[in-house]
Symmetry: C7
Subunit: 276 residues, 7 copies
């Protein structure tokens, strides 16, 4: 009977050994295949990038090495845990150790995912197009490039802003339809408001007739405020996109001259003096 | 007995091999079916989108490729873990590796979910309707579109704001009922307050009679402040929605003219000078 | 013996197959029951909502479809994992994949839970009642509705604010008891303070006798500040709730007139000029 | 032998079925007991609350229904997972689904726990007592109630502030000991500083003798600043708690009169004019 | 043979039942021991606290009840899961349910741990000592008590600030060595700078000789600014800790008198007037 | 039969003991190999760093010791969990304990990963090059070094800023193309706007002809504002990168002189005086 | 046969009991060894700290007791879970309970890890050296000590700031190379700009010749602004580190005197008066 046991034990033992060796060999083969494919993929990506964006060979070298290393570390870790579990040992401790690093990476890299997700929808919903004038991520300017990770906006002062898409939550697109031109003109408390409005409206109508970029108005909409020293009248117009500033500048000049011509004063600050 | 063992072992072994092969074949078939269905679904979605929103073919191509790739990577990963576990190997290491990426994606994409959840309730609770004038996400304007992910608001200066719904926590809807018109008028410390109030209230009553957009008032409610150089009187009215600004402008003009007509001064800033 | 083995193997095999098939059938039945119940519940909820809130049929359609889809996806996922585990395969990979989506949803939807939890306590602790005048979530106004998810506050300018309850941390309820009316009156550095206080207190007493909304005071509590050009006296009263503004306006008018009547100056800003 | 097997199989099978049925029955009984106890507990809590806080029956109804529902959903979920695992199926998919909701709830409800934890220590460390004058959570006023979840503070203007304890991190308690009264008095650049200090100190000593709420000082501590037009002297006193404002008002009045009596000028702003 | 089976089955069955009953009894005993020890510990802690901090019996009652309840709930939960697993049922559902509450508690209580960890290092690194004058957590004052959870700071106006240690990140300790006294004195653009510096330095030297709390300087370090109407000279000294304000006050008085004595003007604001 | 059992038991027992001892020996060997390799790697890295960055030997010693210790702790922990699981004990409690530390480390170290991820893309997308003038992380200056963890920017005042890459979200690169020079010039309300524009444009054209760094303009684009006392004209030019400030300075000087030469006034602030 | 079974059962049972007892004894031994080592280590650390930092014995006692207690609690918990799992009971409930505390600790202690990680790189990258003048964590001053957890910075007013390293993200080091001295000087609109620049540059050259701490310049770089009442000229120099303030003071004094000597006016604010 103990003979039987020995045989059985021996057979099972040999079978076990054989299976372990087979599995280890399989794992090693899988490891080398995965590593070779991965490394080749990374190298290919970088050499393509080098040609396309003409980056310096040194910088490409640095980044490629970093990527290959990171990939290799991950692969080696997966390999070791598999081998350990083949030998029947419990890799929980090892995995717990790696989980710490993984957690840090997961948190650290979430920004990257946020970038791509936001970028995806920026493109999909056509919120931003190249050459649009937008306000996004606290920056004002004309869009030069919309990528999956970053959007490049050229500020009006010539600065090129690189904004990771995650920082672009609300987009204000100033290139989607007619824009408003708005000018506030002050007149004195002594002037007749109706007269001033008539004079300003006349000038507005003349400008509207001259300027084809004006789509609507300009109209004097009334008394916007009763200031310390002045009565403020507001003039509003609708203009072609991007023509709003030119129209505002024109309106300021022409309306000031119209008031001058009609002897309506644009008042300086006033103060009443009581001498003691 | 060892014969029996051998037979048993052999039988079990063959059975095991057969089962493994069967399972692998099943997994492969499931993989190809899932992949084919998924890819077709994605392509369908994008070609529909291309027709509806007339997006450029290039952009659709980019986004579709990205989606198909992401889907394939996920599918391949699921497939590999299943195959590994069929062979009796422990895929924990692999899953731990994937968990890192998953964690990053989960965190990165939570904004998207937030958008849809908020959007769902924006629609369900009718907080926002197209053409409402609202303040939401730090932006003022008229709603052009309420979607599950983004809300489009047209600012009064013509800008089109795209606001992800997650940024819309509190909504201030200015198109739900009558609005208040509020005007503060200053009179001099030397003028009789009762007289001034009577004059202003008379003018208010005349305006109320003329203007059908005024629903209540306007009334002079009393002395709102004792300023450095002026006594401030407040006038309040209820108007039809969106008529509040026109009423305020009218009130400012008419009340100023009423005070002028009654020789009540709107004072400039005063200062007492003590010469030394 | 091998006969016995075959029989045993065969029997176990057939039993296994039978059990698998039985379990799959059970799972399918459970799936269809769950789906049918869930769908009916969602439809019922929405059609009730449609009648109650008179929402447009189109919008209800959209939201209902989204809800049914979401429910179906979850159900299908649960079904697939159960079937996979019935076949003895390891669904860990699949679950890991789903966990990513789950994580995103869990994070994205936490705001919703926060809303309900806060809403529950807002109602339970009676912090807010309809028609209370409150400051909450950065908004001022009268409460129109307190729900489990959102609170609606009508601003004094007519705007309707929808505030998700999670944004309501501190609530300032201005409708719980008598309110304070506070007026600061300036007198000149040359005037006798005791005399001015006497004059003001006399006027205060007269107002207190006239106005039944005043519960306590008003009293001149003393010299609140020594300003650049004036000595500031503070008057405080307790009034009925919501009467504080009317009382303050009345106090300002009456006290100003009392000072005028007693030749006590409310001073303009002073400046000493040194000519060179 | 196959007979033996059949018997064995059959016996084990019957035993298994019996055990499953037994377990299911146990689970069902446990479910109904738990549900009945839970529901009764919730109802009891709410009816007690209704009597104590005289809440409207409608509101109690709403909250009670919500609580019972939430409790039932949780219980049903626990029951289903137990039944599923009794049948030998893998409830992982179901639990993963529930985990998503659980995660959302856990995150959403953490504020509640924060409230109770902070509230516990607020009470334990006696940081706040009813009737203390405190600054907490950005609000100033007298404490009306300290609860485990919220603290109620009555502002000086009559507003009742409800502050969730989690918003109370730092507490500034103004009712723990004597308070400081601080008055800054300006004198002219032309006045003798020593003389002015002597005059002010004399007045201070007189006030200290008269007023029993003053515990220390008031003392002129010296030249606090050399302003644009004035030399600023600072007077400091220690007073009984809550008497500091009355003492400051008294000091301002008396010190101003003391300076007047000694012909020391409190200067208006000065400016040198250079005419061109 | 079936006899054998029956025997075996029966024996195993009885053994199983016996083991289950034994385990349940063990669990019940462990539960009562743990509960009795825990309750006694909590009661002891609170009655000690009641004596030491003379808290009202009512408040102690409330907190003690809360603690005992919380402890009991946790113990009951642990007990139930153990009993369930003894009966061979899967407590995963129950644990998932509890995990939700646990998560909320874990997040809610992390502040508490933060307090203790920070408190530990505040004490260990001697950043704060009782009677130090510090700025921490946005509050200024003298430390009254440093605990593991909260630090008590007495503000200069008498307020007692309770600051949870987690809010104390950077500590600015003003009681660790000599302090700087800094005074800026303005002279006219017409005065000779070298002469003014000489006069001021002379006064500084005299003060330094008189005052033993001054450790270094005071020295006129030069022209700190060219203001609108004045040339600003800066004087710096090193003083004993907490003597800096008295020295600054003394410097202001003495330097002003020194300039007066030498006919150097401290200028009022200047303005050039162009009449039109 | 009991003999057989004893044999079997004994054999299995011995086999088990043998396997345990074998596994422990394997684990110990693996431990020492891993430790030796790890320590050598760390030492090598630090001694290389010491040579390259000429750090003091003491500091290197400190950091190296810290690294070796951290590595050893992790290794010992992994070793212990493996040994415990070899003995058939459940290391869950130990791992739960370690998980707490791991969690803290994972959260604490995520910033580090964020740095490297952001750094990777800063380099890859060429957002920043050495010697670029950029605004990033709230700091302005010229880039001195871009690393994977930190970026060094030299401020214009000579300060060297070390910015961890995670703090660099949006990068504003001022060295990518021509820059804008912008000058606002005020003229009096009494001057003729057309004449002033003509004079300024003439001067602009002369400057453009002289200065090769100007690429476009400068042009007077019109009336930018109607100020309290002045009409504001805006002049804009495009210049070579980094020449914008010099051009602006030149423009200010030349335009001021051009206006002087043509008797066009740059007005001082105006005020109307009403004597009473 | 049943005899055989009994024997077998009995043997297995006894073997099981023996193994359980053996494991428990092993666990108890391991527990006492671990506890003794841990306690000794903690005591050693603290008594060393007591000698080095001369902390009061009482404080050391408190901290040591806290550390030993925390260590004991963790050890006891690990011990209990191991014993429970030896008895074949499921410790999941217990671990879930502990996980809650663990989670809280993990979150609460992450700041500590952040400190050490940041501290490690502060030292490694030599961002900060003792005696550097830096701006970090919102504080300005000279570094006194850089530790792994906190950095001590001595403010210029004598305050000692303790900054946890996690609060130090960007470091601005003002002690790494030459610094810039920058002075803006105003001249009147009536003065000739070229003449003023010549006068200022002459003075600059003289100062540069005299002062060896000046490395470059000072140079008048041109018209920095056209102010309300003045033309602003900017002078820039490069100086030795920490000499920038002295150079700026010297420049202000010398340039003011140079302008005086050449009768170039530094203008007071101007205003045009229009009397009415």
């Amino acid at each position: 009977m103990s003979q039987w046991l020995n045989n059985w034990t021996e057979g099972a033992f040999l079978l076990g050994i054989a299976m372990i060796i087979g599995q280890v060999i399989l794992a090693i083969i899988a490891f080398f295949i995965a590593r070779s494919i991965g490394t080749r993929l990374i190298r290919g990506t970088f050499s393509k990038m080098e040609r396309q964006k003409n980056m310096s060979a040194g910088r490409v070298q640095t980044l490629q090495k970093l990527s290959v290393n990171a990939f290799s570390y991950v692969l080696i870790f997966v390999f070791i845990t598999i081998v350990i579990s083949i030998f029947g040992l419990n890799p929980t401790g090892l995995i717990a150790g790696a989980g710490v690093i993984g957690l840090a990476i997961g948190f650290g890299a979430q920004g990257l995912v946020s970038d791509v997700v936001t970028g995806f929808f920026l493109l999909l919903e056509k919120q931003i197009d190249v050459d649009d004038y937008v306000t996004a991520g606290g920056v004002d300017g004309v869009v030069e490039e919309v990528g999956l990770r970053t959007t490049q906006i050229r500020g009006f002062d010539g600065t090129l802003h690189f904004i990771p898409n995650r920082d672009i939550s609300s987009v204000s697109n100033h290139s989607r339809g007619n824009m408003r031109a708005l000018v506030d003109i002050s007149i004195s408390y002594d002037d007749n408001i109706d007269h001033a409005i008539a004079v300003l409206q006349q000038a507005c109508d003349r400008i509207a007739a001259e300027d084809p970029t004006i789509k609507e108005g300009p109209n004097v909409i009334g008394v916007q405020g009763l200031g310390d020293s002045d009565v403020v009248l507001r003039i509003i117009a609708k203009t072609e996109n991007m023509a709003q500033w030119a129209v505002e500048r024109k309106l300021r000049k022409e309306l000031k001259e119209a008031l001058d011509a009609n002897n309506i004063e644009i008042p300086f600050p006033h103060q009443v003096y009581i001498e003691k």
